[in-house]
Subunit: 674 residues, 2 copies
């Protein structure tokens, strides 16, 4: 699944483009090249229409507006947490699916924020002016201050507006993205988890594929469906082999322009750390929830996320260690360096030195600040509340980035959300991550002693989770409102804990930002300059979870055909999980023409974060719904290989067919056709 | 813990030695160098006496004979499986420990085989003559045939004699090791698992340390204690800081002479594969056994092994990715290659090509032949029985290596052993490993389809484990006896399964042996020749789980002192697992002088397989019991670093003290003092 994973390192600018390669900026699309290759290219009106029809889900997904009444299409896995939060033991929506019988029956997703990109402004000059001549902590402070200033000036304190300054080409360009922000998003339709994830982990990132990973939500404003005239239209016919297709969405992060030193750090330190952690957590979680329906209900979705992340990172690692890959990067870098302007050549060594610091700080940073030692939603609330109370007293530009005025509405929504919390799962997860803290730093480490004292991880986790009242959204809401004011009552045990470990977390974060982050950003400018001098100005920036457009065509690879069919689904079913077809699909089987396309593979260049993107034809109409890539696409993090990198989408024809004949959701289908 | 892990790649010869470095052959000990450094070196009588007092446990450990009546000292973790096998729900010996009140009360360890090295013969010329001019499959066949011939001629069909041809210096020298074989080994004394592993996984491979990882067994011959006049004596006083000390034991495997291509394969493919598998299995197992005393009883020891392996491999990987390490190896290799005789220079490329094959075959080999897809003791029995029935019909020299006449007694003991089997654990483990097979090769893979058909891993595992009768040792014994004869009754379901997957397993093994193994062995000769030509004849071969002697001294590193004390143990105890002191030790506390040394760190160069080795003073008397190394020692796989690589042992004084004052095992203590 192509949800964005947390970006673990900074992004650098990329080189020149090859066939179908590229996650292009909407204001810098290579129309000439596309026209040459495919005899067609979008014009400005096309680009504007598709941009406004595209939606970003703040949790790391993409989506699209598909009706004038605010109907939004995305993947089931993008709003799975919502389906889960709306479920109860008696109403297990992951299992049964959900279809609102009327607009009144649409149910609010407590944690979903949707963003529609209304304007892009180039603010490069302002940022460069503000940071000129600075380095290290000074650079970091000035950059942060300027970003906060620009964002505040744009948002003007209006919570329905979201403004983000984005660094592109690794600090060489800065754009200000202005979004319309929707925080009232309601669930319209979701299929059964089993059909969204048919084939489970074995089929994830594989193709041929049979996933019905589709869902619909609706944007609301002032309690009413949002008016969205700028919607995308549904194409009368889905994609066929050889068709030119576009994907408009939000690729989360690529590292195609990293230096060799940075890639080696990924291979040797970063990826192994996360992989080993996820592998063990997967083992724990899958066994923890087995044979216990209630535990399965509360943890099923998380397990899927863990397995998805594990597979994605594994694919990345394998791309990095593939024979010849890093040697190729090494040669490319040597050539670039040799041809680069004198003034930029020191950048590679500076980056290598920052990487050495990164290597030294990485584990400590991840444990203390990255949250690896405290894997608990309640702890995250506690930390957010503790930090908010401290940060809100500071002037906007001095705060931690995520507490700047422009970011607060999203954070507030997260903290106040009413999704239920399983204390059982919280305890298991926190105890495990505390044990990893001790294991990783050793029982004799001062921070470990400070955290655990003479308690076992299990005992401490139980004490904190059983003792906290933060599971109650009303308590969190009240604490948010009182933040910065003198507290009268006894402090919550988990809040006190979060406060107690915060100095250590902030300390390592400061070192990280000053010694690693600032150096990489600063030298990223130089590297981008070197690249421009040698390769020219064309190219697309590394992915930044901002809107991009990719082009490609419907195409298989090797012996693999680009389309699967409804008939293939029923052939693949074994009756044993994860290859089970739900009773509803079994019942509808006779009404489903076996030749109907199911999933489709295309050559578009996407990455995690593109989940939920619309697949568009040359008119800009919807012909499918992107939800995944194939295994070779996982290496797309570091480079696009046209031979076998493929995007995987639910076919547009199937979506209409299933809505009508499997789910009886005729109203949604009709709305799509309007 | 320093048990030998399965060797995953071939071993190469090492370079010249540095201070305290080296796992030396008993027939090639650097006496002059040791004398120069320490003013003392063992003479031939010393070496012979210590060799005969040293014991190898066939499961991957070391030990020593410490009384004339066959008393053998080793680590608790080396005979933990025996303690577990002798346990029942009503008599949980891992928890309570075991102390035989008389010789009659000593209980047999069903799976333990002990070997005493009685002779070493150089057979290099015979092997080189037999394989001259051959390569690939031909070389492999000729080498195997010659080894089988030499071993059979040595063992002469006498099951009490074990003969192994060992390749040293990566194929440059071959020695025939003749052992006296003991298959009747009985448990005399074992402490509580909790004290043997005090500090659990957090403290494993750490120092300061407080592990009482000691145990005693006795060798029996014809139902009576073996007469062992060649025992090692107990030193009246244990080791002190600065003392010269020796370790005689069986290091399992090092890779200090691997080429850079081989080390990169370890870093990129081999170690990540095992690490990820172990991490997930650890998560599964620890959750599976939680809150269920019976499950905890049957799986506790396995979890400890998994965690130990995980930590050991993690340390190895970290050594390989440490800044500068591989660069150093690369430079060393370039220098060696430049100075090497012309005729040997092609060897590096040949090895690199074999490594490419290894990379391509590795995962398939591990899954199908290496047993990763079928993690079940019962499956291992089934495979052994199926293969034995097929192999026994072939002439000795044509068989798979482990079915040659010389190896059969050990295999037979394994197959017929009476240790209990938990079908519950077997099902969990097999189902998980079958799911990994599907995950790794994909649901569309032909072998996966052959194995699973339309069944889920859980269903297939349940069918095989519930359906088999191989859990009954008598059934296995009968099948072994009937092997090769026509079978009349319905075949066992698991045996049939093992037979069904065997052709695929053998096919990948053949490719592996011919395309990887044979090329590496063959070119290993050339590399060793190059090294001899450039560096001279001195040096010790990479570890091969054969007897070696290392020298060093009692010494800490950095701020760490080399000795811990009984007082320190009680200070470190928190009352929460794994930092719990058992009631028996608590009760004895007043009788234990707090200054008594507990564990001791030394500079000896050891590796997994050395677990259970005696720590000896210059007289060759016992002053401690090796059970671990520190974290930096894990990099010892690839090179010895005198600055911080340390061996960790139980102090000799503590062993006597605890036997008498904690366990009331006065008879054992007296026997040691005899």
């Amino acid at each position: 699944m192509r949800t964005a994973l947390p970006a673990v390192v900074l992004l650098l600018a990329s080189g020149s483009a090859r066939a179908d390669e590229g996650m292009w900026l909407f204001n810098d699309f290579p129309s000439d090249a596309v026209k040459k290759a495919y005899g067609f290219a979008p014009d400005q009106a096309w680009l504007d229409r598709v941009r406004l029809g595209s939606v970003r889900l703040a949790n790391g997904c993409s989506a699209s507006i598909v009706s004038p009444d605010g109907l939004v299409m995305t993947n089931h896995h993008c709003i799975r947490a919502c389906v889960e939060d709306l479920s109860t033991k008696e109403r297990p929506l992951l299992e049964t699916g959900f279809a609102a019988t009327s607009r009144d029956a649409e149910e609010k997703c407590a944690k979903v924020e949707a963003n529609q990109l209304v304007a892009i402004t180039d603010v490069t000059q302002a940022v460069l002016d503000a940071t000129k001549g600075a380095s290290g902590a000074d650079y970091q402070a000035k950059l942060k201050a300027e970003q906060a200033k620009l964002e505040s000036a744009c948002a003007k304190g209006d919570a329905s507006r979201r403004c983000d300054v984005v660094s592109l080409f690794h600090g060489a360009r800065f754009h200000l993205y202005e979004y319309r922000r929707f925080q009232d998003v309601r669930l319209v339709f979701a299929p059964e988890f089993q059909m969204a994830t048919f084939g489970g982990d074995p089929d994830n990132f594989n193709f041929p594929r049979y996933g019905f990973d589709a869902a619909f939500v609706r944007l609301y404003v002032d309690g009413k469906p949002a008016a969205t005239p700028e919607r995308l239209k549904w194409a009368p016919q889905g994609a066929k082999e050889g068709d030119l297709v576009f994907v408009s969405g939000h690729p989360g992060g690529t590292e195609r322009s990293q230096t060799v030193a940075q890639l080696e750090l990924q291979r040797d330190v970063v990826l192994p750390f996360f992989l080993l952690s996820l592998a063990e957590y997967r083992g724990r979680l899958s066994e923890w929830m087995k044979h216990d329906p209630e535990r399965e209900r509360v943890a099923k979705s998380r397990l899927r996320s863990v397995e998805n992340g594990l597979k994605a990172l594994r694919g990345r690692r394998e791309a990095l260690v593939a024979p010849g890959f890093l040697d190729g990067k090494r040669e490319e870098e040597a050539r670039l360096k040799a041809a680069a302007p004198e003034a930029t050549r020191g950048a590679w060594d500076a980056v290598a030195k920052a990487v050495d610091r990164q290597r030294a700080l990485f584990v400590e940073y991840q444990l203390k600040e990255g949250g690896q030692a405290f894997q608990s939603d309640l702890f995250q609330y506690a930390r957010a509340l503790a930090r908010y109370a401290a940060e809100v007293k500071l002037p906007n530009e001095k705060r931690l980035r995520e507490y700047s005025d422009a970011k607060l509405p999203a954070l507030k929504q997260q903290v106040e959300n009413t999704a239920p919390i399983s204390k059982d799962l919280e305890k298991a997860s926190l105890a495990w991550s505390l044990s990893k803290l001790r294991e990783t730093l050793g029982a004799d480490d001062a921070f470990v002693k400070k955290v655990l004292g003479k308690k076992s991880p299990e005992a401490l986790a139980a004490e904190l989770i059983d003792g906290t009242s933060l599971a109650d959204p009303a308590v969190r809401k009240a604490l948010w409102a009182q933040a910065g004011k003198p507290q009268t009552r006894q402090e919550d045990v988990l809040l006190a804990f979060a406060r107690r470990v915060d100095a250590d977390a902030r300390a390592v974060r400061t070192r990280w930002e000053d010694e690693v982050d600032a150096v990489l950003k600063k030298n990223g400018e130089l590297l981008a300059e070197a690249r421009r001098a040698v390769q020219g100005a064309t190219g697309y920036p590394d992915a930044t979870f901002t809107l991009r457009l990719s082009f490609g065509q419907v195409r298989g690879w090797g012996a693999v055909k680009p389309l699967t069919t409804v008939g293939g689904l029923f052939e693949r079913a074994t009756g044993a999980p994860p290859f089970v077809v739900t009773p509803r699909w079994e019942a509808a089987r006779a009404k489903l023409p076996p030749g109907t396309p199911f999933n489709v593979a295309t050559t578009n260049d996407i990455i995690g974060g593109n989940s939920g993107s619309p697949l568009l034809d040359r008119k800009g109409d919807v012909v499918g719904l992107v939800f995944d890539g194939n295994l070779p696409s996982l290496g797309g993090r570091y480079g696009y290989d046209a031979r076998d990198n493929r995007t995987v989408a639910v076919h547009g024809d199937l979506i209409l067919l299933a809505l009508e004949r499997v789910y009886g959701a005729k109203a949604v289908a009709d709305e799509l056709r309007r």
